[in-house]
């Protein structure tokens, strides 16, 4: 029973990434400062400040309703599409505030892509799904599109499974394949940052494993922020972790530290499985 097992035993069971990538001085692609977020009158995020290190995986963990998905969506202004929301503070991408006046959200989202919880392919072929982003951003040359589609499908580890028939409907793919297609679709826009909102929560363990491998691979070229409910997943794939609770960022740091020796008592309680 829970109380008989020491917290040390539990944390040992989590596979924590070996601290090969401890940055002496991480370069930050994004920087969030004093961010407050409101849904109407409800104050959903309280004064969040946190960096997003370049070409690293940053995991956001915390119990349901803690604000981690809301926070993720402030990073590419997806909350703009929800009525009655308000943002204070700043979110900088390469030194520019994305909430400044005159910022073009279309341009912003070319740099900050997003993968969603449930695979959401468009009702069109595999090819057209991947070519969607490049096309709306003005690529019309067939050869250029062919090249992008192949490169990004390879990048998303899906090419070998679908190259035989790219004209197939994206809906004919399995859930895991659809999610990799959605990742390829994001890669095709060549973003700097990829936001992932619980990308594996609708997938089976095998597909989850493949997506996690893909995330590790992508982290060599992209900056990744991933929201996850699965603490083992956060421990496996991320270099940095932020723990959210009731709209506060309780603790942020290197993943190995958060999972083995957190400063905050509630972070410790959460990562050792005592609530959440």
């Amino acid at each position: 029973m829970a109380e008989t097992i020491s917290k040390n035993n539990l944390t040992k069971n989590l596979t924590v990434r070996e601290p090969i990538i401890v940055d002496a001085q991480p370069v930050n692609t994004m920087n969030v400062a004093a961010l407050n977020f409101y849904y109407g009158k409800s104050h959903a995020l309280h004064n969040i400040s946190m960096p997003v290190p370049k070409q690293r995986v940053t995991a956001l963990i915390g119990p349901s309703g803690c604000g981690k998905s809301t926070f993720l969506r402030t990073l590419n202004r997806m909350n703009d599409h929800i009525d009655g929301t308000r943002v204070e503070g700043s979110v900088e991408l390469d030194g520019q505030d994305i909430y400044a006046r005159g910022v073009d959200v279309v341009e912003l989202r070319k740099h900050v892509g997003m993968v969603f919880q449930k695979p959401n392919p468009f009702p069109m072929s595999i090819y057209d799904n991947v070519a969607y982003g490049p096309r709306i951003h003005g690529v019309t040359n067939r050869k250029a599109l062919d090249e992008i589609v192949e490169r990004t499908l390879r990048g998303a580890a899906l090419w070998d499974e679908v190259s035989a028939d790219l004209k197939r409907s994206a809906f004919s793919l399995s859930g895991g394949q659809q999610q990799r297609l959605c990742i390829a679709r994001v890669l095709a826009v060549e973003p700097e940052v990829i936001l992932m909102d619980e990308p594996c929560s609708a997938l089976d363990p095998n597909s989850t494993f493949r997506i996690e491998q893909l995330i590790e691979d992508l982290a060599t070229r992209y900056t990744i922020v991933i929201v996850t409910h699965n603490m083992q997943q956060a421990a496996r794939v991320s270099h940095y972790t932020g723990f959210f609770l009731r709209g506060d960022l309780r603790e942020y740091g290197e993943t190995s530290k958060i999972f083995t020796n957190p400063n905050d008592a509630e972070t410790e309680a959460y990562v050792s499985g005592r609530f959440g």
């Binding site: 997806m78 070319k110 959401n120 009702p123 994206a170 004919s172 826009v189």
Partner: protein, 341 residues
């Protein structure tokens, strides 16, 4: 813990009073008779609906049989309508129904889709709710009220401000659509009033279809840097395509069968096929409404009833196709895909 559970298994439910389990007896589950009666009553109620439809088809068919036997397929392809010499063909009315519905949809579809897209994708909620409500209210207005408005407002207005100026323009008057002495009560008035009547239907069904598309589909497009319009055009509308087509066909079904308002404004005359919008015409519904009361001979009545039968069959088929398309899209959306693109 597991072993203690096994030892005193009787107390699993937390030490409640231990009433002996009794599965055989005369509890509520045994009153099968009441259940059976209830089942049969509901089954009969649903049977009544089917029986009414079957009854209508059979009675229409029997009443139309003299005309069917006498005119065979010529009935569908001739324009003669001569009660005195008992020479009947329905082509003029079939044409009038299709032609007026065609123009009605041509006018109504862009407006309805525009309104549906606005209400579903663009409108803030303080506009969305009242406007949606008003549109649904439009669908509830009795058609005779539309007819009165058509006779006293629409027709005179059209005649004075649209048809007469066009007719007086030497160039426009040569266009086949405008070749007739304008009189207000004509094909154009009928098409317009039909357009006004079907717009609320197409709008509200299309809006429901668009609202059923999950937010995450739109988000996927926005997150790739697509604008609102690119998202609507390239993702939302393709997703909703079958359902929106269904909504349009549902509107077509309404337009084909609409009787009262059309009869009041279409003019109810004409002896040959006329493409002019300014010429009066007939529809299948309006000829029946106009002439059935005065159909003095059996064959005259049978001919009118055969038109009714045709109209019934056509609108049934159109509605069935529309409902299948709407159902298919809704199911497709709920199951998150599975459709072959």
């Amino acid at each position: 813990m597991a072993s203690t559970l096994a030892k005193d298994g009787n107390n699993v439910s937390g030490g409640g009073p231990s009433i002996p389990v009794k599965l055989v007896g005369e509890g509520r589950g045994k009153s099968r008779v009441a259940d059976r009666v209830y089942d049969i009553a509901l089954f009969l109620a649903s049977l009544v609906v089917l029986a009414i439809i079957a009854g209508i088809v059979i009675l229409l068919f029997r009443a139309a049989l003299p005309a069917i036997e006498r005119y065979k397929f010529h009935f569908l392809f001739t324009t003669a309508w001569d009660p005195i010499h008992q020479n009947f063909g329905a082509l003029l009315y079939i044409f009038g129904t299709i032609y007026s519905s065609f123009w009605a949809l041509l006018i109504a579809v862009p407006i309805s889709l525009g309104a549906a897209i606005f209400l579903s994708e663009l409108a803030p909620s303080w506009i969305r709710t009242p406007v949606s409500f008003l549109i649904e209210l439009l669908a509830a207005i009795p058609s005779v009220v539309y007819g009165i408005w058509g006779v006293f407002v629409l027709s005179p207005w059209l005649n004075q401000h649209l048809e007469t100026p066009i007719h007086d323009n030497a160039h426009l008057a040569k266009v086949i659509l405008f070749q007739a002495q304008p009189q207000g009560s004509d094909m154009l008035a009928a098409a317009l009033i039909l357009a006004i009547m079907v717009t609320p239907y197409i709008t509200s069904v299309s809006r429901d279809i668009l609202r059923a598309i999950p937010r995450v589909v739109r988000d996927g497009s926005f997150a790739l840097g697509a604008t609102q319009w690119e998202t609507i055009e390239r993702v939302v509308l393709p997703y909703a395509r079958a359902g929106v087509i269904g909504a349009v066909i549902l509107g077509l079904g309404r337009a084909l069968g609409e009787t009262m308002a059309v009869t009041m404004v279409i003019g109810n005359s004409g002896s040959h096929l006329n493409l002019s919008l300014f010429a009066p015409g007939y529809t299948m519904a309006s000829i029946i409404a106009n002439e059935l009361p005065e159909a003095s001979t059996d064959i005259y009545r049978a001919a009118l009833i055969e038109i009714g039968l045709l109209l019934f069959v056509v609108t049934m088929i159109v509605n069935a196709v529309a409902r299948l398309l709407v159902l298919y899209t809704a199911k497709d959306i709920n199951s998150g895909g599975g459709r072959k693109a």
